[in-house]
């Protein structure tokens, strides 16, 4: 019960410490070994964050206004306030497999894309560290083709006094990655629910309610030539169906992505083919 025994362990101040017994020396040595063990364990775990970055690195689609990947990872404080304000729950937090990206927000566009239902890019407003920002600080580099030529016009706000989104850089660009499966190119129409009855994703339809997103499954389509990606796109003039020439010289209809594309991923979410014919390439810049 008493502490008195312990006090005798420490040598009295001023006098040189008595030599340690063999047992004590061993105890001290084991303690050093344990200290090294904990150091190794913690540092190993900490530095394992580099692994996903070093190989097979997944490029994630970040929320609107995100800094470039490296700066984004360094500035994100992993609080998830962006997750909390998103009206369509498009933003998720990454897990352990993302290394240093654990806890950092990303968008899985195929599951739920950012459709700008908030009208003002609330995630940028919520971010406390400037990881998501309307205007990048001057010293940070701008990726090639990231800068938008003009502030994107949000179709839902087109008739408002302020129709634009306060975005200066795109987070990616939509690309027709699987043209062979695209229904429009095959000249096919589409009838029914874009992603089937089980799909949970939401989208804001101006023809239904300008303010409230509804389930994609609750909004069936019936078109003679598939143009779902064009219909669903929330940004003005970002995508259209154009006549193109196939390699064999025949005329085809195909979705064509234009410069105003911000990389929100709505076209990828809505695409009825499996896997999606059109996808957003995260961090991609615009190339004419």
């Amino acid at each position: 019960m008493s502490d008195e025994g312990k006090t005798s362990e420490t040598p009295a101040a001023g006098k040189p410490p008595p030599p340690l017994s063999k047992e004590r020396q061993q105890q001290a040595r084991r303690r050093v070994l344990r200290t090294i063990l904990l150091t190794g364990g913690v540092m190993g775990a900490a530095l394992s964050g580099f692994l996903p970055l070093a190989y097979a690195r997944k490029s994630r689609l970040r929320p609107p206004g995100a800094l470039d990947e490296k700066d984004f990872l360094s500035s994100c404080i992993k609080c998830g306030q962006c997750v909390q304000v998103c009206p369509v729950q498009a933003i998720k937090l990454a897990d352990l497999v993302d290394g240093f990206g654990v806890g950092v927000p990303y968008i899985d566009a195929r599951e739920q894309a950012c459709d700008f239902s908030c009208d003002a890019v609330q995630c940028i407003l919520a971010c406390p560290t400037g990881s998501l920002t309307y205007k990048k600080p001057d010293f940070l580099p701008v990726r090639d083709g990231a800068r938008l030529a003009a502030a994107p016009i949000l179709l839902a706000k087109e008739k408002d006094a302020e129709p634009t989104l306060n975005l200066q850089e795109r987070i990616g660009v939509a690309r027709l990655t699987r043209p062979e499966s695209c229904l429009a190119i095959q000249g096919k129409g589409f009838k029914g629910q874009a992603r089937g009855p089980q799909f949970d994703g939401e989208l804001r339809y101006m023809s239904v309610d300008r303010w409230k997103p509804i389930k994609v499954a609750d909004h069936p389509y019936d078109v003679s030539l598939c143009n779902l990606c064009v219909q669903a796109c929330p940004i003005k003039n970002a995508i259209s169906i154009e006549t193109v020439f196939a390699p064999d010289g025949s005329q085809r209809k195909s979705p064509v992505v234009h410069e105003p594309c911000v990389g929100c991923g709505v076209c990828e979410m809505i695409c009825p083919t499996e896997p999606a014919s059109i996808e957003v390439i995260p961090g991609e810049g615009w190339r004419a």
Partner: protein, 325 residues
């Protein structure tokens, strides 16, 4: 503060950074008198009554603390799940009814890695700094941090296993925590990644509670297993840089635990329940430098020692307030 107490205060700061507490060289005459009296006289009746009092442990402060800790974390969860928007975000950074609150260590990591500071980050850091200067830095650890609660339960398990002689507590050099603090700061600066945030159990647990569990909890589990079977409270004691950051804030904090030498019987039950027993070296017989000694900045103000002491030798105290009252 007289010279003796000033020296003692500096010693306490050094002990926080990992130095082992030493026997004090100079002790005030009044304290010397009490030490002398205690050495020569044993009041057997009082000691018996005292032992009886120890048999009925109080859990007043522990219960208050657990309720506070659970409510604070629940407020985060409820704010998001039911969209009541009182406390948005997670423990690394949040907004309490609009006020930015940003964890000091997380802010530091981001500032070092990103090398750029925006206004909101600065405001939030300032708010938290003022908050924990008032309430005593490491109060965050025991009253808010969710890992602390799990580690407290893991410690109980460890002690139970230790009683059964199945495990022993393997102590580790406490200076390691200061080394880790420095290493993580340097890593953030050099690599540009907030390396520590990837393994911070505080952040991982807070996010798991609010946004749902993930694989990252495996790391927290590994830490708890290490603490149960190998080394008691290892993370909080020897590794966590958040604790050291808040400990430094606690240097200037007016809220602390105060030790009164007169009533103390020196059986050391307070040190047995303490997460950071090095701050309680004062209660060892003959070590108190004065009749009243404030406990050092590394103290988490958890109140377990206050609960453990039936004579009230240890009590919460606000610097300067006792003079006013």
């Amino acid at each position: 503060m007289n010279d003796i107490q000033k020296r003692r205060f500096l010693d306490q700061i050094m002990v926080m950074f990992g130095r082992e507490p030493k026997k004090p060289t100079d002790i005030s005459p009044k304290a010397q008198e009490i030490h002398f009296y205690k050495k020569g006289n044993k009041d057997f009746n009082a000691e018996k009554a005292h032992a009886r009092a120890h048999a009925e442990p109080s859990h007043k402060w522990r219960n208050r603390r657990w309720i506070t800790l659970i409510l604070a974390n629940l407020l985060f969860v409820v704010s998001f799940r039911f969209d009541v928007q009182i406390l948005e975000g997670a423990l690394t950074a949040s907004r309490f009814i609009g006020f930015h609150l940003i964890d000091l260590n997380s802010a530091l990591q981001v500032m070092l890695a990103h090398k750029h500071i925006i206004m909101n980050l600065l405001i939030g850091t300032g708010t938290v700094l003022v908050l924990w200067i008032l309430f005593g830095g490491r109060t965050f650890c025991s009253w808010v941090c969710p890992y602390h609660l799990l580690a407290e339960w893991a410690e109980k398990l460890h002690l139970w296993l230790a009683r059964k002689k199945l495990v022993t507590d393997q102590t580790i050099d406490r200076r390691l925590r200061s080394v880790f603090w420095l290493v993580f700061a340097l890593l953030a600066f050099a690599t540009g990644y907030t390396v520590y945030e990837a393994i911070s159990p505080t952040g991982i647990l807070s996010r798991a509670l609010i946004y749902g569990p993930g694989l990252a909890l495996l790391w927290v589990l590994a830490l708890l297993v290490f603490e149960v079977f190998f080394s008691k409270r290892a993370w909080c004691r020897y590794a966590c840089p958040i604790g050291l950051t808040y400990g430094v804030v606690g240097i200037v904090s007016p809220l602390r635990i105060k030790y009164r030498l007169q009533n103390c019987f020196h059986e050391g039950d307070c040190r047995k329940v303490c997460l950071v027993p090095h701050v309680l070296d004062t209660v060892i017989k003959g070590r108190a430098v004065d009749t009243e000694v404030p406990i050092g900045p590394d103290c988490t103000r958890c109140g377990l020692c206050v609960d453990a002491c039936p004579t009230g030798s240890l009590a919460f105290d606000v610097k300067g307030l006792s003079k006013l009252l």
